[in-house]
Amino acid sequence: MTYQFDWSVLWSGQTGTWLLQGVLITLELSGLGWLVAIALGVVSGALRTVPVAPLRWLAAAYVEFFRNVPLLVWMFFWYFGMPPLLPTGLREWLLDHGAEFWAGVCALGVYHGARFSEVIRAGIRSIPKTQLEAALSTGLTVTQAYRLILIPIALRLIVPPATNETLNLLKNSSVALTIGVAELTFQTRQIEAYTAKAFEALAAGTVIYLALCLAIAAVMARVERRVAIPGMIAQGQSGEA
């Protein structure tokens, strides 16, 4: 092997800025995608346990359709498939304002929303039924019981599987490079293309992903300890989807 290592390509010239920009875009993309995913996941996960059958079917249809199709296909679908169906004005506006980024947020949010939904459903299912009955007997409506009692408890129970899903979302944000979002993997490839130093560029990207994952896992471990409900710790782990 005659490969000449040159680690200085990672900070000489523009490459350092590119890596930093890549990390920021990855974090923005994952952060916004995460918010969409949590919102969709909580709503659809809760709906899957309510005593109204049509609502359960609707939520189940959303989950089963979106999580059984590859994320890459959703990226293409939102980026290439949807815009031609939009009104011309909106389409042009989107193309001027980073359509690929918003398509990436949509794809990540909707796909991982379906996966979060399973986690949250498992969380709600693990709460003893008596909680709902007690809430209803104090005069709360079903909606209030979910909003004030069941969902808050479920969110405290599901921290470990939700951490897992969050890390999956962060790693999956790399798929957005296929529709041209300039996130970390995209910048890694750009550095490789400009410097022809594949090993250094990929090593930098890999180390950054590992560091981000470890950092998120460490933060979530603290969160888990803070929000843990005494005596119910073991049930939180059963929500693996």
Partner: protein, 226 residues
Amino acid sequence: MDFRVIADNFSFLMLQGFFGFGDFAGGTLRLALPAIVLGFLLGLLIGLARLSNSTWLSLPAKIYVEFFRGVPLVMVIFWFWFIVPALLGRSLPEYSVALTAFVVFEAAYLAEIVRAGIQSVPHGQVEAATATGLSRTPMMRYVILPQALRNMIPALVTQFIVLLKDTSLASIIGYVDLTKAAQIVNNREIRPFELYLFIAVIYWLCSYAMSRYARRWERSPGHGAV
């Protein structure tokens, strides 16, 4: 919307893209099936190494698993795509690169399934096997693994679904799977909505059918009654 584009290109999308018969060395199934088999064999070795009493075996296995679970699959595919030519001095076909990347990556997840499966076998089985005079290797082979494998089947099916969906990422290095086939047709026909919706439905049918199967297996009577 005009779904005739699907009918016109149906055999290219399905035969070439999904099954892998045609002019290109491609196919979703031709990548996914060997990848799950080889990935499972590698995962079995790593999973067994992780449970070994020797730190020399368990620590490298742990590092392997934690490393690949912390890195995006796209990154792993690019590693093999760029590094293998640098090491070998010549480029490899997309199929070999994609298959290697998937086997190495999935083995980390499959090793965890193997480990969980082995740990799910009640400890009394180990004691009973020891009492009958079996040493460690035959005990693993004849007593623990057969039961563990049965416990693993739902998780293995689920992982195969994940793998089947992940093979769409092989299209980014030019491997002609179902996703790439749709891209190729789309470049000619410019019908993105119809084409991507169609492949979404195909992936969905495969994944959903298998997940129903896995769920039925989990519920089947007799399962877990070891």
